[in-house]
């Protein structure tokens, strides 16, 4: 491979949404980045070599394409796979072209067809892009108002349109937020059963009786509340405390037994 591959003309559109890359050591990386992908590179070569897209000399284009890839030392690995995939496709088509055939190929049997169709479609999209870019630039110069002008006595107009994405996004962000809230409380305050048990017994001794639902609701996290619920059960089971619920769905009142067995829960 002696012929050096053509490089694209001066900087086209730098890709500003790519991660800021370190200063290029050899300049090649930057140049490859100009191509959106392998189809873009192929179209570039076709244009540069003034090739008829409907009659691509596969052997030559494959050689140019590979030469080009060869010179790239540090291409992004994700992208490299995509460039190599097309290289494999080119080589496959070349091998198909070399098969001996008795008659001329009908157009639809041309092994190049799959590639040509894709290139034509992609070329169309690229052309549309340059027209759409003009429209975008035109629009960006005109400013719309994104707030509601003052009206007397207007209500809440904070509005959102419903889309599947909005719906799902809203849900998963909400769950994430709730999960983060829960972890924060647990991390912030390490609740152990022992500590809770002590707190409860202390509180019962002090107040003689507590309204359990009230006590339960005052907890910062569900986890802490559940631990205290567990503690009450434990205290009742070990006969340190008595819990009474007068009626279904009413609050539970808890108080210490006057004669707690000495073995439990004081320490």
């Amino acid at each position: 491979m002696t012929e050096s591959p053509d490089l694209p003309p001066e900087p086209v559109e730098p890709r500003s949404d790519a991660a800021p890359s370190p200063a290029p050591a050899d300049g090649y990386q930057v140049r490859l980045e100009i191509f959106e992908g392998p189809l873009d590179l192929l179209l570039f070569l076709i244009r540069k070599k003034k090739i008829d897209i409907h009659d691509i000399p596969i052997a030559a284009i494959t050689r140019h394409y590979l030469e080009y890839l060869d010179r790239k030392e540090q291409i992004n690995l994700d992208r490299e796979a995509e460039f190599l995939f097309v290289a494999a496709l080119l080589i496959y088509i070349k091998s198909q072209m070399l098969l001996p055939r008795e008659t001329d190929l009908a157009e639809q049997d041309d092994p190049r067809r799959i590639l040509v169709d894709r290139l034509l479609e992609y070329q169309k999209i690229k052309a549309a892009c340059s027209l759409l870019r003009e429209k975008e630039e035109d629009q960006l110069l005109q400013w719309r108002r994104h707030f509601l002008p003052p009206l007397a006595g207007q209500g809440d107009l904070d509005v959102v349109e419903l889309s599947l994405f909005d719906l799902a996004e809203s849900f998963f962000l909400m769950m994430k937020r709730r999960a983060a809230d829960a972890t924060r409380v647990i991390r912030g305050r390490d609740v152990t059963i022992e500590a809770k048990m002590k707190e409860l017994v202390g509180l019962l001794g002090e107040r003689r009786m507590i309204d359990f639902l009230e006590y339960f609701a005052a907890h910062g996290s569900l986890e802490e509340a559940l631990i205290s619920f567990f503690c009450v059960l434990e205290l009742v089971k070990s006969r340190v405390a008595v819990a009474v619920q007068d009626e279904l769905f009413q609050t539970i009142r808890v108080w210490l037994r006057k004669d707690p067995p000495r073995t439990v829960a004081h320490e």
């Binding site: 890709r15 949404d17 790519a18 991660a19 992004n76 994700d78 992208r79 400013w143 108002r145 707030f147 509601l148 002008p149 003052p150 009206l151 007397a152 207007q154 809440d156 107009l157 904070d158 509005v159 959102v160 349109e161 419903l162 889309s163 599947l164 994405f165 909005d166 719906l167 799902a168 996004e169 809203s170 849900f171 998963f172 909400m174 769950m175 709730r178 809230d181 279904l248 769905f249």
Partner: protein, 182 residues
Amino acid sequence: MNDGLKATLEALIFVSQDPLSLERMTALLEGVPEEDIRAALEELVRGHAAEGRGIHIVRSGGGWLFATKPAFDRDVRRLLQIERKNKLTSASLETLAAIAYHQPVTQSEVSAIRGVDSTYTLKTLLEKKLIKIVGRKKAPGSPLVYRTSEQFLLYLGLNSLDELPSEEEMSRILQEERAADG
């Protein structure tokens, strides 16, 4: 009169969210004498005050801003009423999402998921027929049980609830890390 200056002021007052003060105009249009700005502004205001105009520039909070003329208040309100009808607030959206992914659910379950009392938004969603009541839960207080409606699926172009994006799909879509571009 400086037509360009008048037009510039019109554009600036239009996009400004707060009333635009004379000081601000002067600061923005460096080098233009305040005299000229004042004169252009006056003519601009006068032009809009004329018959046959639907919006005017009013003085408010130490600056100028565009507003619709009071004469068209009824039409304006009717329009806003209509535009509002087709949209959901973010509270409604969140509630709807909680129901969609957790159904069947009760009001207190939805409120627990959101961390916010959701009684009111549930009512709104019921009115919009995006959710429906499907019965009562066998639990203390026998609370009402909600599900999303047929309308909800139609609205989103889904054939069944199985087609809602899964958590994995969403986190893949929302994932921030991949700076490499496609």
